[in-house]
Each structure stands twice: as C-alpha cells, then as structure tokens.
Symmetry: D2
Amino acid sequence: MIRFECDYLEGAAPQILEAIAQANYEQNPGYGCDPHTERACELIREACKTKDIAVCFVVGGTQANLTVIGAALKNYQGVIAPVTSHINTHEAGAIELTGHKVISVSSPDGKIRPEQVEKRCKAYTADAHRTHLVQPGMVYISQTTEVGTLYTKAEVKALHDVCKKYGLLLFLDGARLGYAVESPGNDLKLEDLPHLCDVFTIGGTKQGALFGEAAVIVDEELKREFPYHIKQRGALLAKGWLLGIQYETLFTDNLYFRLARHAADLAVKMHKGFKEAGFDFLHNHETNQQLPIFTQTQFDRLKEKGFYFDHFADMKDGRIVTRFCTSWATDPANVDKLLEAIKDL
Amino acid sequence: MIRFECDYLEGAAPQILEAIAQANYEQNPGYGCDPHTERACELIREACKTKDIAVCFVVGGTQANLTVIGAALKNYQGVIAPVTSHINTHEAGAIELTGHKVISVSSPDGKIRPEQVEKRCKAYTADAHRTHLVQPGMVYISQTTEVGTLYTKAEVKALHDVCKKYGLLLFLDGARLGYAVESPGNDLKLEDLPHLCDVFTIGGTKQGALFGEAAVIVDEELKREFPYHIKQRGALLAKGWLLGIQYETLFTDNLYFRLARHAADLAVKMHKGFKEAGFDFLHNHETNQQLPIFTQTQFDRLKEKGFYFDHFADMKDGRIVTRFCTSWATDPANVDKLLEAIKDL
Amino acid sequence: MIRFECDYLEGAAPQILEAIAQANYEQNPGYGCDPHTERACELIREACKTKDIAVCFVVGGTQANLTVIGAALKNYQGVIAPVTSHINTHEAGAIELTGHKVISVSSPDGKIRPEQVEKRCKAYTADAHRTHLVQPGMVYISQTTEVGTLYTKAEVKALHDVCKKYGLLLFLDGARLGYAVESPGNDLKLEDLPHLCDVFTIGGTKQGALFGEAAVIVDEELKREFPYHIKQRGALLAKGWLLGIQYETLFTDNLYFRLARHAADLAVKMHKGFKEAGFDFLHNHETNQQLPIFTQTQFDRLKEKGFYFDHFADMKDGRIVTRFCTSWATDPANVDKLLEAIKDL
Amino acid sequence: MIRFECDYLEGAAPQILEAIAQANYEQNPGYGCDPHTERACELIREACKTKDIAVCFVVGGTQANLTVIGAALKNYQGVIAPVTSHINTHEAGAIELTGHKVISVSSPDGKIRPEQVEKRCKAYTADAHRTHLVQPGMVYISQTTEVGTLYTKAEVKALHDVCKKYGLLLFLDGARLGYAVESPGNDLKLEDLPHLCDVFTIGGTKQGALFGEAAVIVDEELKREFPYHIKQRGALLAKGWLLGIQYETLFTDNLYFRLARHAADLAVKMHKGFKEAGFDFLHNHETNQQLPIFTQTQFDRLKEKGFYFDHFADMKDGRIVTRFCTSWATDPANVDKLLEAIKDL
C-alpha cells in the first residue's frame, strides 16, 4: 500500500536519528536544561533573525495549542478562530477543557479576515453588558491552514494590526510552517513572524522530526510565564534534550527548510498531475495538502489500486473531497505511481 | 420612565414577600434541609404529576446552567445548542469554563431541529478518529427560547427521541417556562416534561420570585450526584429555605401559573398593538418577549417619550430589532401607554 | 427546640425586609447597575474611609471565595491557607475545581503565621526546579477564623508585609467580619483592611442580611477584572439590587455593627456561662462561635433538653468539641435558658 | 562529571534505537492505530498474564497522572495520596488544574496505610454535610515510592481491599515499576497488579525507553473512556507507533526487566558501599534511589570530586539528604568510582 493520507507517516530525517544515537550515552540534565536545547534555541533565534524571542519545546500540536492558549488567555476570554481550524474541529475540546471558548468564525478558505476580528471586537466593546459576553483575547490562525491555503504577509500583518488595535494576541500555528514557507507564491518568511505574531509554533512532527513543536514567544508576559504552564499541563518532556537535539539538527545547515522544499516540490507536481487528470479541488493551491474532489467510483478504484488517502469531506453533490499529503519523506516514485494511477479512474 | 427591557425589573409577588417575612424568626437549618424546601419539592412533584424526579434549587440561571451541564457531561463531551442560545451568547463563557464546548448549530428561530442533532451524532459515530472530536453529550433548549419562540410538544418529543437514540441527555432551560405554558397555542405542559427531558428548570427569577431556579432532574445518575455539584460550584445557598419558601409559595394555589398568565395576556395584547401599529417582528409570536422592528427614528422617539426597552439586534437594512417584555409585575396601564405611544412614532 | 448550631438560622434584620418590600415595585435595572447598589458601594467606601476600593456583591461565601481566588491567581499558582480554613475543609473542592491548589499549612489556632508563609516562599524561590512546584500566589485568612479566633492588627500587618515581599496577594474572608470587629479585645477595624489586604469580604449572610457577601477589592488589576469573573462563575445576581439594598440598609446608621454587637455581647455572656459551669474550650475566646468541650453524656443530655448545637470535632480523649453560635438574631432569653441548662448536665 | 542525580540522564537501550531506525521508513498510521502498538499491548497483556486489561501509551509521567486522575474522578472527588507523592509535590499543580484536590496524608516512609484511607472514608461517610467535603474517589500510590521504598504485595492488597470497601479506585504509579520488581525483597510482581489495582502505569522514561508510560487499565468504565481523555489532554502522540515500538522492544525477550535488573544490582552495591562508608540513610532500602545523608562538608567535597547528585531534602540537624540513582544505563565503573570517592570525604 502507498499512503498519502497525512504528512506524519514516517519517522524522522536520518540526520535526526543519527544525532539522537550519537548522544545516547551523554548524561544530559532533564527538562530542557541541557546544551542541545540551548543550542537549538540559539539556532532558532538566528533563523528568526532576532534575539528578542523565547523558545520552548513541547512534544505535540494539540499540546502546544492548549498550553499556549491556556497560558495566554484570562478565564473570561476566548480565542477567535476559523470554523475549520484544528482547535475548533480536531482537538477533542482540548481548548474548552482549559476553560476557553473557541469563537469560531466562518471561513470558506480556512483563513480569517481582519474585518471578522474587528466586527467581533467592536460588538464586544460596544455592548454595555459585555461582562455577559466572552471577551475576545486572541486570534488563532494556521500557516498553512488546515485546508492547505496560505496567508500572505500582508494578510497576517493586517490581522496583527487589528489585534493590536483591540488588545488581542495573535497566535500562528506553524505545524506546517516549513511547507508553507517553501510553497510557490509564499511571501511570509520565518523571520517575519516575530514582528507579526505574539506567539507562533514551528512544527517538527510533520516536518522531519520524530516529534516536537517549537513554541516561539514574542509577548513579554507570556515569555516569563510559559515554562510554568508547560510543566503544569504535563507537557514538559523529562528528557527535554530529545527535543533540543532534534531542533538543533533541523536548524543546522538549513535542514528544516531543505526537508520542506522536498515536500513542496512534490506538492506542485501532484497538483499539476491532478489538474491534468481533470480533477477539481476544494481549494486550488499548491501546498503539501492537496484536496482533489473524487466521485465515489474514482475514490473506490484508487483504493483498490493500493493507494491510501484521506476522506476529507463530503460535497453536497455527492462527490468526496480527498486529501493527499506530501512530506519530507515522500518517495517521488510514489507520486509518479499515483499520478499514473489517477489517469484512468 | 416606563421600562419594558426585561422581565426581571421588579421584586417578587406579594405572597412571597409575606411568606419570607412570616418565617423570618423561624430557626431553619441551612442548605435546603428544611421543611419549606421539602414542601416545595413535594409541590413541584405534584405539579409535575410524578414522584420520580429530584428537585434542587439554585439562585440564578447561569448558575443553574453551568451546574447542570458541568454535572451531566463527561470531560470530553459538549452540549449541542442553538447559536442564539443563552449559554452560547450571554453567559460569559461559563459553560466553557466548566470545560465543555457549546456545539452551536444554526437556528433562524431560536429552536433546534432533531435533524440537526442526528446529523451531528451520525457524523461523530461514523468518524474513525472520533476521539479527536468533541462527543455530543447533551442537547440544550429553552422554552420559551431566547427569541420568544415556543417548542411544541411534538418537537420536544422528537428531540428527546433522537437524544435517546444517540445516548444524549436533553436539558430544557425553563427560565420562562411559566410564560411559555400560559402562551396561546402552547401544548407543552409542565407535567409533560419529566417524560420528555432528562433535566429541566422551572424559572423563578423572571416569574414572580425574588430569585431562584428549580432544577428538576429525571436522569437517575444526575439525581444522585447533583447535590455535590451544587455545593462545589458555590451554588448552595446557606439559607436554602429562602428558595424553598419561594417555590412553596409559587406552587401553592397555582400561583406560579396565575402570575404567568398575567404576563401572557399582556403579551398577546402588546403583540396585537404592535401589529396594528404596523410594526414587523423578528419572530411573529405572542409570548412575553416581543421583538418588533423599529427604524432608528422610531427607536429614538419612543425613548424620548420615556419608554425604556432593549436594543436586541441590528437588521441588515439598518432597522433595529427591539425587545419589549411583559412579566408577572407588568402594570396593564403601562402597556396601554406604550401602545398609545407607538401609534405616531 | 432552641438552635445554636450556626449563625445563619434566621432571615434578616427587619430593616432589610422592609427595604426590600418598599422597593418591590420599583423598576430596577439588572446585574447591579442600579441606584441601591451604587449607594451601597458608596456607603461601604465611607465605612472603609477610602475611595480607592471597588465593591462587588455576590450571594454566598463559597461563591465569593472561588470567584476571588479563581480571578486572582494564575493557573500555576496556589493559595496558602490554614489546614482548618473553610476553603480547605468545607467547600467541596470548589477552589480546586477552579484549578488551584490549597496549600494547607498547620495551624493549631486557625491562624497562619508570617513565618509559615515566608518559609514556603523562600523554599519556592530557592528551588532551581520551581516550575515543578505550585507557586504561592495568595494567602487566605478568615476573621474571625473558622474556630472563632481573632487576628490582631499587628498579625495581619505582618502577613501583609511578607505577602508584599514575595509578591503574594492577601485575601481576608470576612464572613464574620462584623462579629470580629465587635468582639472584646479586637483591634482590627474595617477601615484598616484596605491598607492591609488586597481583597476582603464583608459578610452579610451571617450578619443580618438574607444573603450576600461584599467583595472589597484593593488590588488594581483585580478591580478591573473582577466583574467579568463574577458573571462567568454564575455569581452575578439578575436582580442585583437585592444585594445593593441589603448592604445599603446594613451600612446606614451603622446597622451592620449594631447587629454584630448584639451577637458579640451574647457571646461574651455565653463564654462566661460555659466557663462558670466548668467547661473547657477548644479555644478560649469570646467571639460568636463558642467551642466548649462536652463529655458524651453532657452532649446527649443537652440535646434531650431541647437544645440543638454543632458537633464540631472529636477530642482524642473521647470528649466532643461542640459549637454554639450567637448571631444578630439570637434571643437573649435563649442564651439564659442554655446557661441554665448546662449547669447540671 | 559523573551524574547520579536521577534515572533519566541517558537516551534509550540500543535495541530501542535500532527498532526505531529500522522502522523509520515504514508508513505507520497515526495515533497508535498501528501494528507496533497493537503488538506492544499484546506483549504487555502477556506479561501481565491477563487479557482483561486495556493498555494505552502516553509520553510522560505527569501527563499520565493528570490524564488518569482527570479521567477517573468525578468533579467533586479528590485523590488520597501521601504528602510526599509526586502528584502532591512535583507536578506544579497539574492535578488541581484538572479540578481535583490531592488529599494528602502523612507518610514518614512515602507509603500510605489502609487505616489512613479508611479513617478518611469513614469520616466522609459519617458526615451529614458531606456534600460540603471533597469526596475521596481514588488512592494514589507509587512503586517504588518517591523516597525509594517498596510496598509489599500484602500492603497493596490491603489498600485495594479498603478501596473496594468504600468504592475508591486504586492507582499505582509505576514510573519505576521495573526497578521495584527487580529489587531484593520485592514480592509484588507485574502480574499481580491487574488483580490489585484499577489502573497502573509501567514506566518507560526511567527504564530504558526514550520516553513513554504505559497506562494499564483494569476498571471497565475507565477502559472505555480513556482514549477520549488522552486526546483531549494533548497526550495523544501523532506518531503513536514510536511508543508502540519502544514497548514492543521492552517486552520482547524480557528486556524491560533485564534492564531493570542492571539498575537494581548496582543499587544494592551502592547501598552497601554507602553503608560501609558509614553513611546514614533517610530510608534504609536497596532500590535504585539511594538517599544517604551527608554533612555539608561531605556534600561539597563530593561535588568537587566531579560527582553530580541530588540535594533531596534538609535534615533538622543541618545535614543534607542526597539522592543517588542507578538506572539501566549506569556504568558500573562509575559506581565503583563513587564508592571509592565517598571513602574519605
């Protein structure tokens, strides 16, 4: 079987396995107080071209999201997020369990608009009984989004501006940040983020690490307090150097972006292939999550041919939105096989 | 100034004030372990025509909602509710603070349909990765709804049926239950509720008491556990007999429904008056929350004439949805003055 | 039966019932935005001799405690409190439900010492792995304490000093503040508290109101945010003017302290009576909660004579610590009857 | 520097690194739905000699504890635990953040006695106002304990009996379960646990894995619900097969216990060495956490000689309780060097 259903099917870049094996009998102090972690933070600061950020590592994405949001918000605040966002749909109510409402706003393309934020904040501020409402405290966006779309730098800047205007934090979930950066047409670089977000993550799990998300914190108060929240949420890895060593490796010799580029190039190829084979897409983009639309027959036939992919959503006309992902580990030969296979479904 | 903006502007029915004064120097044990509370529970059981319910009293509506929902749901469950529901809009995130998602569903008329519940539950059950989703655990409805509409008995029964089919609890918020029961066209009686809901409330605050909501519990597990939750939520009144004595009074000689009828009759009159004066309504019903639509000029002029009412929502065409409430305490003369005043706005 | 088991057996001072009856058909806006509440706040500011406080009203004591503590602490902080404190023993885990540890410290007399706070804070600060510990964020004390003892002004000042040294808030639970102030030997006045605490309550439930606790907030951040927390915790009374009118009455003509004085005087008499009858006390003080120690025989005999009182604790020698409370409503004749009855148990 | 301060200084057993490398380009479905995880569960069931358990894997210890306790308890319940227990001292309030009180009981040797549980439960049950108390819902113990002591099988059985008598769950934290099992004098085997506990963990992090705790669930309700809680707590590893493959390796050819035996043997040696050198111990046992007592001079001198170890606690006489741990990775030569070094401190 050839699997394309997600971008975390394989282990890690060989450089990472090697580095972990290499360090196996070092005696590293626990909880991220080790030289690898220190070096990883330093390398990320360099990649972000600023010293003015704190970097903390946690194991997974839901963990990162709930720890960031639970740490940043006051009890009575909620987080504005697209209705399709991961925190609103696929985290089992993890954000609500921290006590906060996900204030979902409509989003045909997985992105949120500054006007939506402004409208909500204006309504809140104008309401004489606003103590009865959930106070907007943060905006959550993902790059790439959960449907594979991309924010432009100008779009993120506009969101950041409206957040600052109303005193909200902007949180960018970068579980697929590398894939976004290396996508054609992207103009939002890693080094832009410290100027445009209050906190963001640099995903490892989907981008060449065994596991791990780097939380990059710009906001001063959150910087000071975040380590306490990590421990209290059960998100502090005992052998924190395992996270350190992975990010140390990823941010040496630009490995993180080189791995991402591999996935990005294959995504372009895959997109072209689906297009040429006559498939529609839910969203017409070239990032590493391709969402072509299949008839039930096409869907079944491709499965029969030994391909595994995601049933992403149902169209009202009965067709099926599928998801095919490329990743740092995708074998180009498998993409070729796929594009061959879809020609006659 | 004559106020119509809500139905809790005044104190309590004189019979209640009298009963409290009468009992003032009794020595009643605390926390609802007193004869008045016992008697009140008994009277409510009689009014519900069943012995098979537990009755607990709390002070307020948000308190009742968060205690019921926080008690009934497992951590990973959420409550399905209309997007316009009180718990989704006007409780400051109280439900989320208990850790639970309000799974809001669209509702043009403030009511939820069985199909909406079924669709959500089916999607949940069908999802192989349903541990990543919020599990629907309860359906929340209000009678009357927050926009003054009414569920029929058949509608509640259909909701109850789908809830049972998927293992959900049905919670009916009866903050305005009396006003609903006494409204023209209503066919859902108090005595029906123990057969159609797992838990419901009988509102006091808006219906002649100084304060208080009676939580009526049908579900066996919730019955056993609810008292613990009440205390832990800070919802256990020290002088619990104050709640007992009020409900004892309200359910003696049918006072609760006689008070409600007063409001219901004035609502019919008010509705007719607005209609005759040419006003549109957001929802065309005759319950105690009337939502006529005003132009800005009409709105301002009526304010100038000394009437106070609620700015409920904005229409896209620039007009304003207002809210005028009647209650057990509404002076019929004031309704006459209002209907006179709106004739030439 | 004559009951002494607690100080909230009766309703309210007649002036309060009258005031409520008087205002019954006023149309007061909800949620504490009414003239009575405004006036009550003003009167409390006058009684505290400072304009620099915010005053908010909630219905009950556990509600006040969980709202204050849940509002004041960061997630990873806990509240230091005597092991005998109400929040540690009789609030059903309400504080923990808000997410915070009650860091209990030993206390033979119900009071906490500055040295205990300092020791804990020093240990926390000195610990290199302090992110693994609960950070002390607040000290909770009660006046009078749960065992009827009293803090002196110097003691509270010393606690406040150590709190400021380590960045903690000091919260004084004044559910029985009036009874404390009017007790012989007390030197801690209401007007001292804004200078010595960050937040404190002025209890109504036990001191002549039907219900109600006034939360007086000195800390600037807590002042701004507290109203949001009140609503979210379900602690915002719809007819907030009911709280306003009660405190308005209590703080007019010094009624609050006159009612307290009645209880305080009877407590002195009761204490003397028990002493003369040869009873030991768990704590030898003259406040309104008397804790005389009974043999089982004495305990049973007094019950048989028609007196009801609290079984407070068990002594290791088999004797029983009892609790007899006086209150604003205690009939002096009943105290006489009690003191007569205990002479020959 | 030679480090002994904890038992998670090194990476993983080479077999584990190999297995991970071997599987690196397999395409494994996420979230533990993979053959390695399935096989690991099967192997653990075999090692436990029962089919009647569910096995789930999470990354870390605090995560395991908060997920288990948060899943098992009702809101109003607390967990009884020794005052020295990890959840009471070193998890930053993680348990309280899930809403539950850690009901700490005194424990001079890190263990809890059935009498302590019974006393607490009896008092709870006997209290007429028990809705005001925290209901005991679980007992938490660790094997080995946080101070290196061991429960006998009879002791755990007695605790289990009292738990069943009062309806509590018994949770055994086995972060160091292997080291316990292989310690001299231990009579509590892995296969005993499903009969004596409702839920327990088999620690990986400290016992040869890179990371990971296996939660073994005996209680039927907890079995069904636990996967939902794992996801909601952010504890579901995307590449769950990383946990599966590690436990698959550890439970093949008895590796888990062979690794533990290495540490256990060195612990015996270390204990003997400290004893012969004249050191007292906080607790005189032979498990892998040795707690010898040092004077400040001895402490400083050993540090100067290049050894790193834990400052565990302070004695009242000014001496220091230290902690030296052995693990699966401890180099016997380093133990020799240590025992040589302590001869002339």
